[in-house]
Chain length 392, copies 2
């Protein structure tokens, strides 16, 4: 196991949201609040009204319109608002995009340059003081509510980059009933993001990290079991509860403890989203089984871990590791397919075109420390395998 | 799932201990340090000298001699020293006993009455300000390095009680190589404590808490696999690493998230330790399989969970739940027995005597919310079953 440090300050509140608790959590940091949210969904659900009511008596500045794959322009707008209104605390209400944008806005408020600098330079991000973030999570997916990560897109430069902020959100409210209204497609994409976060940390080159791997296996079984339930029965409380807690536990630091933490599918997917603005979870769903197949067929030393994945996650009982490994990947493909989104790049509007080369080149720069290090040719092969159904 | 709150401030440093880091962690809180430790083991291992060297330049007051099942008299002594020397920070170097005693000393330093008040009254414990605790963990067992719990014994009143403190340790250093010198018997008792913490949280009345249960299953497999390795090969780094990280992860709050958290074996064991001062982990090892057998044979509705325990923890493949459940308990008994300590109460010096009634009576008071609520007769039956080898 590698040395690691865990120091997560987030005050996580899981359960029914109470307006008084929300107001207390926000106002402990001041009365000048930037309220950041996305589109119409929190208005349709009534959550917007509940939040406004909870914040009564405070000076609230609103920043609506944060889009999926949040754009640096929204962060720039937030920076201006935060500075102009002497904002003391940010309340982010939404999914990962809203919270990620708020994290960088919280730093940009204390930075005089362009916020894109903070995204590009993780040391600058980790060292810039951040306004405290309070959030209300409305989608089980990214786990951003309990980590320092933020992913921001820059359409001009065709970049989607993972930023680091100086601290985790101060208080995160997680009320699973707020996700009853999440449509099936978003529920599926969120579940796929959770599944991918777990796989990124499970397929790690550090040997013998059984404690962490064992926890990951349990969380994988949770998302595998409950995502289809939530898609079929959107108001299933146990499904929404398990997905929400699984999302947070998957990416609050503990599931990477002792790892080398070189990720594989996220860098490849970020290029797809940067060039084509596709839904992150959908891109991960397409890439993940093709990446697994590529790794297993390229490097036989990975067979043992894929076999363990088959035994402990998919409950497979084949006698031979080779069979377990192959069947585990087939099960993974079948499960992702069952979530109901398109499973090839053309289905989500991505042709095999001139962008493959720059995307593969950019992704490969961040894949040298992956479970199986991938160069440009390897990434291209995985993108190509994602053009057609099934496993090539 | 039940509502829950997670807010763990501990700064956990896992990996090779560096003296400069230790000094920085301590001195951030001041230069008047109470250095709390146990017996001769840290002197024999050279750790004492490393700590003294690291603390050079600070005003160090020493409190040695913290015993297993730490006694309230040690806490009283620490309270006096802390007050007399205007202590600003406590450095605890040792296992759970040393850290637990330090937690209560850290509160007693800010309390004018008898520290036993703090142990008896968990509200008082949670609300008394605490001196910051920095610790260096030398035994993988209790998980106290990342929670607010402390267990203190009072030989005069024959009580061993779980106290709550106002915050978790500020900084915990966990260097698995420091546990290479832990003798087999203590390694086994520590592993049993880890196993029990996981079982206490696994066998919980809250249904459908799959995310948490899945993580627990992974940690159980870790301790089951690595404890025998550490016992046989005390300097196995992966064994010591996995045990140490498993111990912390088992009891830092996440494995109880969403649970009702009524524990079973710990309250029964605390009575044994209070009356006979036996090693906590050994008492748990004796009681746990007998408690499992009692629960399964008393309440058939528990079969499904014991069967799941058999499948996911012990990799059993019986077709019927009844068989899985029974075999899982037999595997548990066999594993504990293999750790090498006495497996009946007489073997650890506890006769069937006049103390059974008051012990059972006291334990039953804290078992009304257990997985299977236990009254005095039930506890007595479990103690009785622990008098003879095997499962009655």
């Amino acid at each position: 196991m590698q040395a690691f440090r865990l120091n997560n300050q987030t005050d996580l509140r899981f359960g029914p949201l109470k307006e008084a608790d929300l107001k207390a959590a926000v106002s402990q940091f001041g009365d000048r609040v930037l309220f950041v949210y996305g589109g119409h969904s929190i208005k349709a659900s009534g959550l917007y009204d509940r939040v406004i009511k909870a914040l009564s008596g405070l000076h609230v500045t609103e920043l609506p319109g944060i889009a999926p794959n949040p754009k640096i322009d929204s962060v720039r707008a937030g920076q201006k608002l935060a500075k102009a209104n002497n904002i003391q605390v940010i309340l982010a209400v939404g999914g990962g995009s809203v919270i990620d944008a708020s994290k960088v806005i919280g730093e940009a408020a204390n930075y005089d340059g362009d916020p894109w600098d903070i995204v590009r330079d993780s040391e600058l991000g980790k060292n810039t003081p951040q306004l405290p973030i309070v959030d209300v999570v409305t989608l089980a997916a990214t786990g951003t509510e309990m980590n320092i990560n933020a992913v921001i897109s820059n359409p001009e430069t065709k970049q989607k980059l993972g930023a680091r902020s100086s601290r985790t959100p101060a208080v995160s409210f997680m009320d699973p009933t707020l996700t009853f209204t999440v449509p099936a497609r978003q529920t599926a994409a969120g579940a796929m993001d959770i599944f991918s976060h777990l796989c990124e940390q499970y397929f790690d080159r550090e040997p013998d990290n059984d404690a962490t791997k064992g926890m990951i296996e349990g969380l994988l079984r949770s998302v595998i079991k409950w995502a289809p339930v939530a898609i079929k029965h959107p108001d299933s409380l146990p499904a929404r509860q398990n997905l929400m807690w699984t999302a947070t536990a998957a990416l609050n630091g503990e599931m990477g403890a002792g790892n080398r933490n070189g990720w594989s599918c996220h860098p490849m997917e970020h290029e797809l989203s940067a060039y084509y603005d596709i839904t992150h979870g959908v891109g991960l769903g397409i890439l993940t089984p093709r990446w697994m197949h590529y790794v297993l067929t390229t490097d036989p030393t990975t067979t043992a871990l894929f076999a363990r994945f088959g035994r402990n996650v998919w409950h497979l009982t084949d006698a031979e590791d080779e069979d377990l490994a192959g069947h585990a990947i087939a099960k993974t493909l079948a499960w992702i397919t069952s979530l109901g989104f398109g499973m090839t790049l053309p289905e989500v509007g991505i042709p095999d075109d001139k962008n493959f080369a720059p995307m593969a080149q950019a992704a490969a720069k961040r894949l040298g420390n992956a479970y199986l290090p991938l160069d440009e040719a390897a990434v291209t092969a995985i993108y190509q395998a994602s053009m057609t159904p099934g496993l090539a």
